[in-house]
């Protein structure tokens, strides 16, 4: 019975994937034609030599810092919002606060459902062109993601220490600060670091809609067919992503090291 059910699932999965391929009418012929492969090679070759003019590099460094700042501030703001929203969203051990749970979860779901780039294009209306719109967009989406993860972490925390404090007459905020938070803090921090890694990638491309940083430079120079400069921007993106990955890896290693 179970195996037949699984066979059915696998078959419908394959059917669905096949349907997706069929619906898109992909241009395989155009892709694998020798002529187009040559075109792609030519396009990539145009990136070199990378533009390394002094003035341009200074501008590039500025945009890289802007992207780094967008991802970091966006993640920090999101952490603050998530830390507030996860409290009503988590199922309390003693069953209190049921009234606020549904609206808090709904809010978190809405924040999470709208992709960063959609938030950014909406915020451009309110905040105008520039990195602030991108930062807020990252913060809104990430707050939804982190809020949900935080709430789940709080719900899954071992209840012993909280119970011990409550029995001693500690108030609800004291129980939260001295029992629950210390228990879940390492997990929450690793979620935050992981989202930071993700957000540096998103921050790098958000500029394509005008939200500042490297993405905006990429769109600008690509539109003007300044390929050497475009190549430098792509290289800066790669360096930035690898840098944040490495930093986050080191931070995680430091956290998990015993003692």
């Amino acid at each position: 019975m179970a195996s037949r059910w699984r066979l059915f699932l696998a078959a419908s999965l394959f059917l669905a994937v096949g349907l997706c391929f069929w619906s898109l009418d992909l241009q395989w012929a155009a892709l694998f034609a020798p002529e187009s492969l040559r075109a792609m090679g030519r396009f990539l070759a145009e990136f070199f030599p990378l533009e390394t003019g002094h003035a341009f590099l200074r501008k590039l460094a500025g945009a890289s810092l802007e992207t780094l700042a967008m991802s970091t501030l966006g993640t920090l703001l999101a952490t603050a919002v998530a830390a507030v929203l996860c409290l009503p969203a988590a199922r309390a051990a003693d069953g209190r606060g049921v009234l606020w749970r549904a609206p808090a979860r709904l809010l978190l779901n809405v924040l999470r459902s709208v992709p960063e780039i959609a938030w950014a294009s909406l915020l451009l209306v309110a905040a105008g062109l520039g990195p602030m719109a991108g930062t807020l967009a990252l913060a809104l989406h990430t707050a939804g993601v982190l809020g949900r993860l935080f709430a789940e972490a709080i719900e899954n925390a071992p209840p012993g220490p909280a119970l011990a404090l409550r029995v001693q007459g500690a108030t609800a905020p004291q129980v939260l600060l001295y029992a629950t938070v210390p228990l879940v803090a390492p997990q929450l921090l690793s979620y935050v670091l992981y989202r930071w890694e993700n957000n540096i990638r998103v921050a790098a491309v958000l500029g394509i809609v005008g939200a500042g940083g490297l993405g905006q430079m990429l769109a600008f120079h690509l539109a003007l067919f300044q390929m050497g400069r475009t190549g430098s921007v792509v290289a800066a993106m790669l360096v930035l992503v690898l840098l944040v990955d490495a930093l986050s890896h080191v931070a995680r290693r430091a956290m998990t090291r015993p003692g």
Partner: protein
């Protein structure tokens, strides 16, 4: 808060107050340059002109655009966004599965007797570097390169997702295989079974649940990537959102936002169902 508690009588002092205070100061020091660098001035959103524009835009959100004509467009765009994500992940699997099998140390024969031999070690290292390269380039950049070759349309989007996610999935699959219980695979290898057989009968049964659940999670991410690629011309919901916002058509934007919420709710349901099905074994 920590400062307030610190001033209280010793018996009620927060035992961790110095650490918390240091943390708060460090965060403030980091935060300041970030606020400057991102031109973070939220109050500009509250000046009269900006408020008027935002207000008019938001005022149009209700009622959402629900004409049959528009809904048909939205349905078509949603299908396209999902299809691009699904095809992208399917092709990424074609890339990721062989890469992760080559790169994972759990299937190394030479490591059974001490250290890995130099040639297999070099091969594994090269595969890993290739995967880092694939996933470090944002899918949007892949798409912009591919657009020159295959023109605007879904093909460049699908391939862009396939390349980035191929690197992402390959890396994580390799890690999952290495962290799974290797006992069965090792005894198969020691007794002379082939690597593929050792993988299929020794490693895969232990790791399949985690592999599936990670793939599903990435599929959900791919839908978001597919929306992003829509903004640069791959079509689908991203492109519609771009047009509607530029025309300040609040009612259309409201409908699209509802679609995003519905899509993620559906993906949540699907992954919860899949996880339950896997747990039933």
């Amino acid at each position: 808060m920590s400062a307030g508690l610190a001033a209280a009588p010793p018996a009620r002092r927060d035992p961790a107050w110095s650490g918390r205070l240091a943390m708060a100061i460090a965060v403030a020091l980091v935060l300041w340059p970030l606020l400057v660098a991102t031109e973070f001035t939220p109050w500009t959103m509250l000046d009269a002109h900006s408020l008027r524009v935002t207000g008019r835009f938001l005022g149009e959100f209700y009622p959402p655009a629900l004409s049959a004509e528009f809904l048909e467009l939205v349905a078509h765009a949603t299908g396209r966004t999902i299809a691009i994500a699904t095809c992208g992940v399917a092709l990424a699997l074609v890339l990721a599965i062989p890469l992760s099998l080559v790169s994972t140390a759990a299937l190394s024969v030479s490591r059974l007797s001490g250290r890995m031999a130099p040639v297999p070690f070099a091969v594994r290292l090269c595969t890993r570097v290739l995967m880092v390269g694939l996933r470090t380039v944002p899918e949007l950049v892949w798409a912009l390169v591919l657009v020159r070759v295959v023109g605007l349309g879904p093909t460049s989007g699908v391939l862009a997702i396939a390349l980035t996610y191929g690197g992402l999935l390959g890396k994580v699959y390799g890690e999952i295989l290495e962290s799974a219980d290797a006992h069965a695979a090792r005894s198969l290898l020691v007794n002379g079974s082939g690597r593929l057989a050792a993988f299929l009968h020794g490693l895969l049964p232990n790791a399949s649940a985690e592999l599936c659940s990670y793939t599903l999670y990435r599929w959900e991410c791919a839908i978001r990537s597919s929306v992003i690629l829509g903004f640069v011309g791959a079509g689908g919901l991203g492109q519609m959102m771009d047009t509607s916002v530029k025309m300040l058509a609040g009612n259309e934007v409201a409908t699209l936002l509802l679609v995003f919420v519905g899509l993620v709710a559906l993906a949540d349901l699907a992954s919860a169902a899949a996880r339950r099905a896997l747990r039933e074994d």
